[in-house]
């Protein structure tokens, strides 16, 4: 007999095997998930979950697909949270401090409570990346926020109403497009292709018999 634990899904008690993730426990109990379930592997942020262990005062957060059930776990999933997503034209914005002031001015109302960081399901230093965004330090904001899955739990805990994942999203796009160094070899190669530099080579491969292609493939040089 497998070891069982008691969990409280939206307050209702179920007994489930202790090795299950919260998501699997919900399915074990009979939930057919539509909301709150996406990649099931910790990348999409669909299954943000808030829980408390019976007797413990502290609220904890996690991704339901990445976290095992525990005895006395009270679970509330957060399949959607109304983040503010401002619309902008990536071709027209500039990576200056002003863009944050215009689009997400609430970040300057941060009271420094650090609830966002405590609420991050990925263990990121959320308050720190917001501080970088306030100062227009988008490269640092991008790096600090890189592993964000945009689940939105941080924003649900924020007294200033900040939509942290969207702020970070903007910072990363500004960094990727405007601040990170340009790639010369990429630009060169795109130009060469447009100029038809490789047309003959490709055309030759298009015409060769499978036997000829096998020979070429099996004897090709492999870079160390």
């Amino acid at each position: 007999m497998e070891a069982m634990v008691n969990v409280f899904l939206f307050g209702k008690q179920y007994r489930v095997p202790e090795e299950l993730t919260i998501m699997r426990a919900m399915e074990y109990a009979g939930y057919k998930l539509v909301r709150g379930c996406g990649c099931r592997n910790g990348f999409c942020g669909a299954c943000a979950t808030i829980y408390r262990i019976k007797g413990d005062r502290e609220l904890k957060v996690c991704l339901a697909c990445q976290t095992k059930v525990e005895e006395g776990m009270y679970v509330a999933t957060l399949p959607f949270f109304p983040l503010v997503k401002e619309v902008y034209n990536i071709e027209e914005v500039k990576p200056t401090e002003q863009v944050m002031m215009q689009l997400y001015p609430e970040i300057y109302a941060c009271v420094g409570c650090n609830a966002c960081t405590k609420a991050c399901t990925q263990g990121l230093n959320v308050m720190q990346y917001i501080a970088y965004a306030q100062r227009g330090e988008y490269e640092k904001c991008a790096e600090e926020s890189f592993d964000c899955v945009m689940c939105g739990v941080c924003s649900s805990r924020c007294p200033a109403g900040i939509s942290h994942p969207q702020v970070a999203m903007l910072a990363r796009r500004l960094n990727g497009k405007y601040l990170a160094p340009k790639t010369e070899h990429l630009e060169d190669r795109v130009r060469e292709i447009k100029d038809g530099t490789f047309n003959e080579l490709i055309e030759a491969l298009m015409q060769k018999s499978v036997e000829e292609m096998k020979e070429l493939y099996n004897t090709r040089e492999i870079e160390k």
Binding site: A29, C39, C44, L201
Partner: protein
């Protein structure tokens, strides 16, 4: 933090580590690979396939689970739906909100078309989001699109449609540039040079990455761009039938709200199927690295209106799915772990293959190690082999894992396994649908007018096996292309009277072939519900 039963094997792996790092295993010959695949690759297990008895690919073999869905009945009858007052009327209808669908929508919008996305979960709930290792493009001076072509063509067993593959490799650098200009971050050196690595079967280091969140970084940026452009995204709504017009051309889709069950009609001048893969079909009982909605819907939608499939009998089993702990069973362990130097090691600490063979060969080799050779590690939930991740820190220096594959470190770290210090257990997991709908280079299906396809739902780009990093590439290249082609085509389309006549026609074919089951398709979501709890 492994239990005691693994201790002895881990000690063997540790003892051999220094020697294993120095050891360069030989690559297999063409003959060795062929024999290995025939004996151990799941695609070669005849009893796992059946011949289709109806539809455009009648007589061809596909996995049992797929045959059931392709030949199942519709979820609706024509009379359930009023086609005379569509809820949506657009130039281009994109079905699917992953990387291919989003790229298609952006390009169709750029071309001035009225475009909408319909997706059964949220935009970004897609295999794109979960692609970890990287995206290929031949943009380094020692590389060329021709070398990329040869690698992919050989890796795919010389079966790719060459006009599709040449488009893939020739448009690759521009795809990277397009993404970068949208703000996608790539791992770069200080001077802007892309930091690139090998993937299995590549002959040049052309794998571009954004740590091991490559797909997530691409997907969230594309999603942001779709939203910035104000492209309508109808989420939690699946497409359950393609609608044709009286000329037999694709002209929209019947949609179903996933929460309320309500039916809606979308009329369109062109339809793009970008529904992705099929891992949640769990072919041959394999676990999968795919997202929750990967149930081959697009193949079913297309097949029922007569679109042909190509290579629907070939699946990709990613060699390194997580095999332990049970909570992450089947989850993807990116190939980049091997690109960075980790080798595959058996129970006794022996390196049993070159770590960068193509995926089908690597998967077959692991299955052989765990079956006939009896060199697997018993995980309590099947056999597995070690992927010796601590090698990466020894080769690349301390901190390499945290910097280059943080998602892997986090995934195992949650279960008390520090991959910098301890090896991990892996076994093949169902990863990718090599086959799909047959298209020409403009992304339109070869036999249904105005029906376009992009992304994993396409068959033939890669042949019978796909190299790492060519799927993130194909969703961008063919997604963009489908969007442009459909927008251009839509300008000349006069949609005729809408009809769902194909449903009754398909039902008659089913009856004539003696298919009596009450299965319906598309599947939409897997059923993992147990209803077993005591309370």
């Amino acid at each position: 933090m492994y239990s005691e039963k693994f201790t002895e094997s881990i000690k063997a792996v540790e003892a051999a580590r220094e020697a294993n790092i120095a050891y360069e295993p030989a690559r297999m010959t063409a003959k060795e690979k062929e024999d290995l695949l025939a004996a151990y690759h799941p695609d070669y297990r005849k009893d796992q396939f059946t011949n289709l008895v109806i539809g455009p690919n009648k007589g061809e073999k596909v996995p049992h689970e797929l045959a059931e869905m392709l030949q199942a009945g519709s979820r609706i009858k024509a009379e359930d739906v009023d086609l005379t007052s569509p809820d949506y009327d657009v130039d281009v209808l994109v079905i699917g909100g992953g990387g291919a669908g989003s790229s298609a929508a952006i390009e169709a919008h750029e071309a001035g078309a009225k475009v909408m996305i319909v997706t059964k979960l949220r935009i970004g709930d897609a295999n794109t989001m979960m692609a970890e290792g990287g995206i290929q493009a031949a943009d380094k001076p020692n590389d060329s699109p021709a070398i990329h072509f040869l690698d992919a063509f050989g890796g795919g067993h010389f079966a790719a449609k060459r006009e599709l593959l040449s488009k893939l490799v020739c448009d690759a650098p521009e795809a990277i540039q397009w993404l970068n200009e949208l703000g996608v971050e790539f791992d770069k050196a200080a001077d802007g040079t892309m930091i690139t690595t090998h993937g299995g079967g590549t002959s040049r280091k052309r794998m571009h990455a954004a740590k091991d969140y490559s797909g997530a970084e691409i997907m969230r940026t594309l999603r942001d761009e779709v939203l910035n452009r104000g492209i309508p995204v109808v989420d939690f709504t699946s497409a359950i039938e393609i609608i044709l017009d009286d000329k037999g051309n694709a002209a929209g889709a019947v949609l179903m709200n996933m929460e309320t069950g309500d039916l809606l009609v979308a009329k369109a001048k062109c339809v793009i199927i970008a529904t992705g893969g099929a891992g949640r079909m769990h072919y041959q009982g394999f676990p999968t690295s795919n997202h929750y909605g990967a149930t081959a819907d697009g193949l079913v939608l297309g097949y029922r209106v007569g679109a042909k499939l190509l290579y629907a009998d070939t699946l990709q089993y990613h060699p390194t799915g997580a095999a332990f702990p049970e909570q992450i069973f089947g989850a993807l362990v990116t190939e980049k772990v091997r690109s960075l130097g980790a080798k595959l090691v058996n129970r006794d600490g022996k390196v049993f293959m070159h770590p960068l063979e193509t995926r089908d060969v690597a998967a077959a080799s692991i299955i052989r190690e765990c079956s006939d050779r009896g060199e697997g590690v018993d995980t309590g939930n099947g056999e597995a082999v070690w992927l010796d991740t601590p090698m990466i820190e020894k080769i690349g220096g301390e901190g390499t894992i945290e910097k280059r594959i943080p998602a892997m470190m986090r995934m195992f770290g949650k279960y008390g396994i520090d991959i910098r210090k301890e090896p991990i257990l892996v076994y093949p997991t169902l990863h990718y649908q090599n086959g799909g709908l047959d298209i020409s280079a403009d992304c339109m299906t070869t036999n249904v007018e105005n029906l376009f396809v992009a992304g994993e739902a396409v068959g033939g780009i890669h042949g019978r096996n796909r190299l790492m990093g060519n799927s993130l590439l194909d969703i961008i290249v063919f997604g963009r292309s489908a969007g442009k082609s459909a927008a251009a085509k839509a300008k000349d389309v006069e949609v005729g009277a809408l009809t769902l006549g194909h449903i009754a026609k398909f039902e008659a074919e089913r009856a004539a072939a003696g298919i009596t089951g009450d299965e319906v398709s598309p599947k939409l979501l897997p059923d993992y519900t147990h209803h077993r709890s005591e309370s």
